[in-house]
């Protein structure tokens, strides 16, 4: 660590190459997120967005390159260590613990902190009052929209500095997507940095500070969200107008 920690970004991927067996997925990918930023990661299907998040969390290990949190190289560290450093994820397809109650699911989010405190619950219930009513319902019996709230609440229970979200609006009705993004904005304004993977480029760029665009594992475009919204290629490819 040559540079002072205050200058280092909250999260940094430095030229990572990630493979699944022989298949080269992420190709020399570099990106960074500063504290408090809201960044979105765009890209078509199978472009490697979820793989990027898995690399950040250490669920898959890159063959080359480095992952740094607050300037500290965590490339060889376990997932639990990285979560302990302030990361949290809302995984693709939510992946709740179906036979456990909403309350228990939330508790599991605070696992590394040795269990949740009253304030943690209060914060989550504040964002999602419905979860309070449904706290003893089994998570597997919730509707898709309700499950999305639990997944987000569960991730927030660990009081993350950086929240990773993999397609948080997948399978939600348009009105819920809007509501979902309102909540994302609200969480972001409370000081949590975010990396959002989204198919819905339009909405996510409208709330993001910056964006990255992936195509077959390579970064093809990056910049402030406003610039990306005006970008011709991106418009043609994703924004559909």
């Amino acid at each position: 660590m040559s540079e002072p920690a205050t200058q280092a970004p909250l999260l940094e991927l430095d030229a990572v190459d990630t493979y699944y067996g022989q298949i080269h997925i992420l190709q020399s990918l570099s990106l960074s997120i500063r504290a408090g930023e809201l960044v979105c990661l765009l890209g078509g299907n199978a472009s490697g967005k979820s793989t990027t998040l898995k690399t950040i969390l250490g669920i898959v290990r890159p063959r080359n390159g480095a992952v740094r949190i607050d300037g500290e190289d965590v490339t060889k560290r376990a997932t639990s260590y990285r979560i302990g450093r302030g990361l949290a994820i809302v995984p693709e397809n939510r992946r709740l613990f179906a036979p456990m109650t909403v309350l228990e699911n939330l508790e599991m989010g605070a696992y590394l902190r040795g269990g949740p405190s009253k304030e943690d619950f209060a914060r989550v219930y504040d964002l999602f009052p419905l979860l309070h009513d449904r706290r003893s319902q089994l998570a597997g019996t919730l509707s898709g929209g309700e499950q999305q709230m639990v997944a987000m609440g569960r991730a927030l229970m660990s009081r993350p500095k950086l929240l990773l979200m993999d397609e948080p609006s997948m399978g939600l009705a348009p009105i819920l997507v809007e509501r979902n993004f309102e909540i994302i904005k609200q969480v972001h304004e409370s000081g949590v940095a975010m990396l959002i993977v989204e198919q819905n480029a339009n909405v996510s760029l409208s709330i993001a500070d910056r964006g990255y665009v992936l195509s077959t594992g390579r970064l093809v475009l990056e910049g402030p969200a406003a610039d990306l919204r005006e970008n011709e290629e991106l418009r043609k490819a994703y924004l559909g107008r």
Binding site: L57, I59, A78, T79, S80, R82, I83, G84, I89, P91, R94, R95, L96, F97, A98, P99, M100, E104, E107, M108, G109, Y111, L112, G114, G115, P129, L130, D133, R134, L138, A139, G140, T141, L142, S143, G144, G145, E146, Q147, R154, S158, A173, I175, L176, R179
Partner: protein, 490 residues
């Protein structure tokens, strides 16, 4: 929450609201409508706290030796408590950790052997029980940890193979341990003899009292059971217990929540091994000897049966599984008692299938009449056809119903046996009236095969009956007697 949110919790009467899952609503409604005396009794039973059940259970079990003074009954009760402990231990690994551990019985053996080595004339060591038992528990936990280390990245089939290898390794080591580098450590196939009984504060806990199984061991085992049960309940309620559950449900999500997945798996292995080793000490102290063959594969299957039957994951469930299976195996040792069990299972299965409905009467009546008619016909044709041996009593009734020839032609046994299997398979394929009609000859055939084929070979028949009980229960209650209801996100 804003009004525009369709997932609002206020549900208007008369059906699911917009955005509310219809299936959930229907499910909830179905639960409400399932009422009647049985359901309300079930609900009331649910309100009884767990410790009240435990106290009641322990009290009933402790009274057993006072009611029945026979050494045999005490011994069966003692063995059942050992099985309960073993099932509790396996439940940690299989039910909570979600790991297929086929080496579990080896930890039981490790505990028994460790006790035998530390408390027998073999090496002249005689440690006090209050020291050696905790020591063996720690040894078991460490061995579990060591076995877990190489296998912590493995799941499912691979883990099963590695752990099965460990069981085999244990067998090989103990069987050949009489010449390990020129030393006799395990006594080889002859095992270790004259193992000390438990001795606490200078008193030996004798196994026999005036020639009868000493009831003290039953109480010691029950005491250990109560301690283990309560301790495990706390473990299950702890952060670790819940982490195990979430790990079993979705390992990837558990990892993404920051749970130390490998460490949690190691812990469940180690906990299970510790409980098995603890049980091993009681086993060794009671039997005063240990042999490699006591820790065999069939024992593993029996414990698995208990766990699956009772409901993997549920503590009271696996205990119930042990209480059902252990005496059942004992009953099946003797043909006459086995016969009783067979007909109880048959009639019980019918009851569970039809409840007390008209169809039950029809099927039972038709089967009864069919038997009487066939018996009369056979007897009229040739008296030797019904002259087979009967034990009398209960069998006397059966004797007028099932055709039991005094001599069985060699082709009859395999033909009827295969015919029975075919009929059962056919039953699963048809439905409605056809099924009822087919059920009648199938039942009769089952009784025929039981009386003529199975009773001639009691040992395999034991396990076949056990398998039948297991299969029919799995059909009726897929999660075991007291298993957790599983919910899947679809």
């Amino acid at each position: 929450m804003s009004d525009s949110t369709p997932t609002g919790s206020s549900t208007p009467a008369g059906g699911p609201a917009v955005g509310q899952d219809e299936w959930v609503a229907r499910h909830a409604a179905a639960r409400v409508f399932k009422s009647g005396p049985l359901a309300s009794a079930e609900d009331r039973l649910r309100q009884v706290p767990w410790w009240a059940w435990l106290v009641l259970f322990l009290a009933l079990f402790s009274l057993l030796p006072l009611v029945e003074s026979s050494g045999y009954v005490r011994r069966v009760a003692f063995d059942t408590v050992l099985y309960m402990l073993l099932a509790l231990g396996l439940n940690i690994v299989v039910g909570w950790g979600g790991l297929l551990d086929l080496g579990y019985v080896a930890f039981y053996g490790v505990g028994a052997y460790a006790y035998a080595i530390l408390d027998s004339p073999k090496f002249g060591i005689h440690l006090p029980s209050l020291l050696v038992v905790p020591l063996v528990v720690i040894i078991g936990a460490i061995v579990g940890l060591l076995l877990g280390l190489p296998s912590r990245r493995l799941t499912g089939d691979y883990l099963a193979i590695v752990t099965l290898f460990f069981l085999q390794l244990f067998q090989t080591l103990t069987t050949n341990g009489d010449s390990a580098f020129g030393h006799n450590i395990t006594g080889g196939p002859n095992g270790i003899l004259n193992v000390d009984p438990f001795h606490v504060l200078g008193h030996d806990l004798a196994v026999q009292h005036q020639g009868v199984f000493a009831v003290a061991y039953l109480y010691v085992a029950l005491g250990i059971f109560a301690l283990v049960y309560i301790a495990l309940r706390f473990v299950n309620r702890s952060r670790t217990g819940r982490a195990w559950r979430s790990l079993r449900e979705d390992p990837l999500a558990a990892e993404a929540m920051g749970m130390p997945v490998s460490w949690l798996k190691l812990m469940s292995f180690s906990f299970g091994a510790a409980v098995a080793a603890l049980t091993g000490t009681v086993f060794a102290a009671l039997n005063a000897s240990v042999f490699p063959l006591s820790f065999y594969f069939v024992l593993l299957i029996i414990i698995y049966t208990m766990v699956i039957l009772g409901g993997s994951g549920s503590q009271p469930g696996v205990v119930l599984g042990a209480i059902v299976v252990s005496p059942a195996l004992e009953l099946l040792r003797e043909p006459s008692k086995g016969r009783l069990l067979f007909y109880i299972v048959l009639i019980g299965g019918l009851l569970l299938m039809f409840r007390f409905s008209r169809r039950l009467g029809l099927v039972a009546g038709a089967t009864f009449v069919l038997g009487l008619v066939l018996h009369v016909l056979a007897s009229a044709h040739d008296h030797r056809w019904v002259a087979g041996e009967h034990a009398g009593g209960f069998a006397g009734v059966v004797g007028h119903w099932v055709v039991v020839p005094s001599h069985l032609a060699s082709w009859i046994a395999p033909t009827t046996y295969i015919g029975l299997i075919a009929a059962v398979l056919l039953l699963t394929l048809v439905s409605g009236w056809l099924r009822l009609v087919l059920l009648v000859p199938t039942l009769y055939l089952a009784a025929f095969v039981w009386e003529n084929v199975m009773l001639a070979k009691p040992e395999p028949a034991r396990y076949i009956i056990l398998g039948l009980i297991l299969i029919s229960l799995m059909v009726l209650r897929p999660n075991g007697l007291l298993g957790e209801r599983r919910v899947e996100i679809v």
